[in-house]
Subunit: 281 residues, 2 copies
Amino acid sequence: MSAIHTLSVVGLGLLGGSVALAARRRRAAARILGTDHCPAALDRAREAGLLDEAVTGLRPAVEPADVVVFCAPVDAIARLALSAAPFCRPGALLTDVGSTKARIVQDLDGRLPPGVDFVGAHPLAGSEKHGLEHARADLFDGRLVLLTPGPATERAALERARAFWESLGARAQTMAPEEHDRALALTSHLPHLVASALAGTLPPEWRGLTGTGFRDTARLAAGPPAVWAPVFRANRAAVLDALGRLEGQLARFREALGGEEALLEALLVEGKRARDGLPPA
Amino acid sequence: MSAIHTLSVVGLGLLGGSVALAARRRRAAARILGTDHCPAALDRAREAGLLDEAVTGLRPAVEPADVVVFCAPVDAIARLALSAAPFCRPGALLTDVGSTKARIVQDLDGRLPPGVDFVGAHPLAGSEKHGLEHARADLFDGRLVLLTPGPATERAALERARAFWESLGARAQTMAPEEHDRALALTSHLPHLVASALAGTLPPEWRGLTGTGFRDTARLAAGPPAVWAPVFRANRAAVLDALGRLEGQLARFREALGGEEALLEALLVEGKRARDGLPPA
């Protein structure tokens, strides 16, 4: 039995495609619609057959929906949701996959028509790969989805959002949008920045001298700039703060390399302990 | 037909164990001996059955060998080779797996008994995992091994070293020890330093908010400090130089986040291009 009748996905990239595939595999919705402002993405979705209908236009895509998931760059989500909401049925639940939350929640909290609810969400799932062709039905399996209610979010809407994301295989956890952005600046945006900076330091003539170490440390740099630039902009202050912490740690390494012998071991042990202490993948 | 009769491996961790396993699988040696200064490592090697004989003591391990591979931390390799060489047969070839080369080659070049040759080697293979239990027969398959002859290295010895490493499945490439250390400071030692620094900035209460991105970017931090501290020390100047390049790139990100809008995209595109341009894993 499907928990919801019609699910609409707005934005058909890696995450939007994976929402559709996961919903279908787990029978989380009886009918799955999707739309994208890019005609080529709609064509690819039709070819891939991962939707019941690939719809042209935001209004026809959201009108019949019980749940709408916005899978767009973070600087487009609030605008899309505000455009879509007037056409949504009373009782419709809107949610998203944006990597930053404070600004999106602020732009939408208490500003939607009566009966239409938005609950911000951020699934900690993804890949440096992008595009519908990399979408996977198991992308959310066992992954954490952070739900970030605002002051105006109804408890019932939050519970529906939790149930929806759990129906895709994720584990849901609630946190304040601002706390989310501070934490993710360090746990997600900083790794991306560091990977990109590391890749950017590599002289082309040394490419052949990289091994799996360089490759993995720089993996995130392959992510799409069009997705990541808005994330950094939306979370500027917290990312700068996280970057400051990293620069501080690098300065300690510099000091250790300059002759503070015991500090070098201490830093490496500290890093190893932290990495070993991460939850299993 | 084995290319060599007796192979001896000095140091039975991930790399030493993998040299033994690869040599056995590819029949690169008729007989494989190994030793380690740590009795527990010898016991593990005996239990794992990856050697024809696990030998106690350096002298009995190297006396019968045609090829000796030193798989120890970089600050121990030259000392071990100098201690072993007087007991080696004329015609014995010594090689190693150290991640830095200039100092080791300098300490050994032209300083071994007549008829005993050393050719420095650095297989770009490994893992954040360590210890014999993670050794793999395919660790060197298709991997690059950098050979770093010194001024006194005979051409014939270099060719024997190339043939030996290729017999384990690796591709061999020759470069000067100093050039090796400058390049690897950036392509290998810097990623390790960055991974460790990133892991070290993570407040324990945010561990649960990391995903595969943080995990992979910080993967190398799990490597053994006892192996990596000597690498950083042996290659101090080049690592500081590589760190300076990274700090410069991070400063550009800081500038971009401070309001240089176009720079942010440019940096992300630059990083993506570099990462996408890496040779396949």
